[in-house]
Amino acid sequence: MTYTGWILLTASLVGISSGIVGVFLILRRMAMMADAISHTVLLGIVTAYLVTKSLSGFHMLVGAAIAGIVTTFLVQWLHSKGVQQDASIGVVFTTLFALGVILIATKVGNAHLDVQHALMGEIAFIPWNTMEVPFLGKIPIATFILGIVLILVVTVIGLFYKEWKLTTFDPALAASLGIPVLAMHYIFMTLVSITTVASFDAVGAIMVVAMLITPAASAYLWTDKLLVMIGLSAFFGVVSAWIGYYFALWIDTSISGSMAFATGVIFLISFLFSPKHGMLSNWLKPQAGKS
């Protein structure tokens, strides 16, 4: 595949995984948790490096997943002890993130880890960092990992689709039916963490928040069906990735920045023109009623 092909494929995988996970983040009103986890995975990555002395993507995936679970657990615990939800998110993620920054700056600062890279990502380098995969041949490591993460996301969401729907819509009923609501909360947050860290190389930790939240928020404006919302969200993620890439080429700027910006543009269009909830249709409706 061509250089451009790999970049577009990688970014599309980010868009699809984030788009699917993002729908449930939005509906569970946990958009802020995406922001929190996108920061604390830094601590997970640094710790994984300190423990294994390896920069392998899989070690980092595990480290980040653990960091995500720890974040979720601490937020939940502080909240149950009487700290407000948003305050406990704010306290936990800034503290863990700061710890990550301190560790990076002292121990591994001279190694290949740097904050700039982790937060902003550099998708342009992805096609050169390859590995040999049976049957598939030489493919970029980041692309391979993202492919596995996508399969994982689709499997976990698909197998327990009705449980995800019910625990999101009505956790009390779910619990009364015997569905382990809290366990599913942790599993979901693990999915968010894994998606986030897998997207690190591609778009960076900060930009993945845009990919998680904005396409899902846009999709929410277009449909009243959950499955359609998931499909649209993934679609918007992919479209943003492509528009962002070509826009970045055109004016020669940051690719991940352009991709995140493109999600915002799609949201703006949805906000203005969606037939059900858009500003324009809301503005036109009373007029139509009068005539």
Partner: protein, 251 residues
């Protein structure tokens, strides 16, 4: 046989005790109204019984055993305000959620579940709204959907949290007709209720709750001015002794 046995249950939110030494038992085939002032712990009581909120002490027996073993026999209708009605789903889908326990893990709902959900929607007079997004429904219609979702569970014991709050008169009549039908079929129903005026018409048993059980028994013998005053803190204004209450006054 007693369907539900509650012994000395206490519960708290953080450090505030909400329920203290609550004990009562519910016979099979009864329709019980749980009444009490705001903050008396009515909703909390249901949540504690269903293990949605931890209890500090006491024992609860469902059908003579623990809830875990008989979960499929217990149905729950949460307060309407407890969910997000802007959620992207329609009325039929919400009703099908009541069957998620029966359908089991790893399976998606099938046509037969859809058909059954349609039948139950029809029963609550909502068949024409099956494909309406749930935010397009009125309060009364939303409550009917919630009731349909509970009916489809085909449970033997139902807990309903304020099913008649903020609904129109027609919905109130429809819901009460269904509750009576459940009772006549030998099912047991507990309803958190806020309107003292209708207690005598609607329920054969009444449970006065104010942090603990104030009084409990057959409506005819238990729903007395004395018990109402005990539960509501004394100053209840009566329009005509024993007939209707125009309002409650709490110190």
């Amino acid at each position: 046989m007693n369907i539900l046995e509650v012994e000395g249950v206490s519960a708290a939110y953080r450090k505030n005790t909400v329920l203290n030494d609550v004990s009562f038992s519910i016979p099979k085939g009864s329709l019980t109204g749980i009444v009490g002032p705001n903050g008396a712990g009515k909703s909390t009581l249901i949540k504690v019984l269903l293990e949605l909120h931890p209890k500090l002490s006491g024992n609860v027996y469902f059908f003579g055993t623990s809830l875990k073993k008989v979960k499929s026999k217990v149905g729950y209708v949460p307060q309407r305000g407890s969910v997000d009605w802007d959620f992207p789903t329609d009325a039929l889908d919400v009703v099908m959620m009541g069957m998620y326990g029966q359908i089991g893990w790893l399976k998606w709902p099938k046509k037969i579940h859809r058909k059954k959900a349609m039948e139950v929607l029809d029963k609550v007079g909502m068949a024409d709204f099956s494909h309406h997004q749930i935010s397009e429904l009125s309060g009364g219609q939303q409550q009917r959907v919630f009731l349909a979702r509970a009916l489809i569970q085909d449970a033997d014991l139902y807990f309903m949290d304020e099913p008649l709050a903020g609904v129109d008169a027609a919905t109130e009549r429809a819901i009460m007709a269904i509750l009576r039908e459940l009772k006549n079929k030998g099912k047991t129903v507990l309803v958190v209720h806020h309107d003292l005026q209708t207690v005598e018409d609607y329920f054969d048993r009444v449970l006065f709750l104010n942090r603990t059980v104030v009084a409990h028994g057959n409506t005819s013998s238990t729903f007395t001015t004395q018990n109402i005053e005990k539960a509501y803190g004394g100053s209840v204004r009566w329009l005509k002794e024993g007939i209707g209450i125009v309002g409650t006054h709490l110190q």
